[in-house]
């Protein structure tokens, strides 16, 4: 199994596309800039909702109204960030997997996703009870705090990949 993954990644490394991204003077920086701008949309839109869940921002706006307003930006940003992130990664797939900051970043994105799923399918079912509450219940505040912490971690690790 491991051999198969390693061989696939070596093949990816040798594709013309990966070589082009590696060798071009401007392709990597250009893609990285798009990746960063997309992440700004993801983290910016998510933080607004997280801070509302924590009872720190726009306390008099229903949580559902704010999250519905922000969600398109979150998903559009996430799609663009993922596409360009994969392209950047494809230039040196095995090298990146060997960088701890990269691995921790992926782990944190996974944790942020799990946190979101739990919130969506468990905590959010009773949204009617706290939708308009200036200070939502503990379970909601904890979900918002965790989400914000995970995403700050994602950005921090992402920045440190460049220094590894």
């Amino acid at each position: 199994m491991i051999d198969w993954i390693v061989n696939t990644l070596k093949w990816l490394h040798e594709t013309a596309m990966a070589g082009e991204i590696r060798d071009s003077e401007w392709l990597f920086p250009a893609m990285e800039t798009i990746h960063v701008v997309a992440i700004v949309f993801v983290v910016g839109s998510i933080s607004r909702v997280d801070l509302r869940l924590m009872g720190l921002l726009q306390k008099h706006r229903p949580v559902t109204a704010l999250s519905e307003e922000m969600l398109p930006y979150t998903w559009a940003g996430f799609a663009v960030a993922t596409i360009f992130g994969l392209l950047l990664w494809s230039s040196k797939p095995l090298v990146y997997l060997g960088i701890t900051y990269f691995d921790v970043k992926m782990l944190l994105i996974g944790l942020a996703g799990l946190n979101m799923l739990y919130f969506h399918f468990v905590t959010f079912r009773k949204v009617a009870e706290w939708d308009c509450a200036p200070l939502p219940p503990w379970s909601v505040r904890i979900a918002g705090t965790l989400s914000l912490a995970f995403w700050v971690g994602v950005v921090t690790c992402g920045r440190f990949i460049g220094f590894a």
Binding site: P29, E32, T33, V36, V37, V40, L51, L57, Q58, G162
Partner: protein, 99 residues
């Protein structure tokens, strides 16, 4: 909006402080870089737009809805601000790559 104002200025203060520290650490890398100079100009422009906008709504929350012209101007300022921020992020990232 008013609710978000303190967050904007607090975050900008953190950005300014950490940016000054980085510039003090490597003045040549920053001050001689065209990408850095462009970024500073864009930041000044966006800060001016933000300050003017916030001032205008402080006394009258519906200031930008009082006439059709104001509405159009508000849309233009909002678009310009967003484009400037994208430019700031792009220029900032490019400091590491271009001289």
């Amino acid at each position: 909006m008013s609710d978000l104002t303190p967050w904007i200025w607090s975050a900008l203060t953190v950005l300014l402080a950490t940016g000054i520290l980085q510039t003090l650490a490597e003045p040549n890398r920053e001050l001689l870089s065209m990408a850095f100079r462009l970024k500073l100009l864009l930041v000044l422009a966006v800060v001016a737009i933000t300050a003017v906008y916030q001032r205008s709504v402080r006394g009258d929350l519906n200031y930008w809805w009082r006439s059709r012209e104001r509405e159009q101007l508000a849309t233009g300022l909002g678009t310009l601000s967003l484009v400037l921020w994208l430019g700031i992020a792009a220029a900032g990232r490019l400091i590491a790559y271009v001289i």
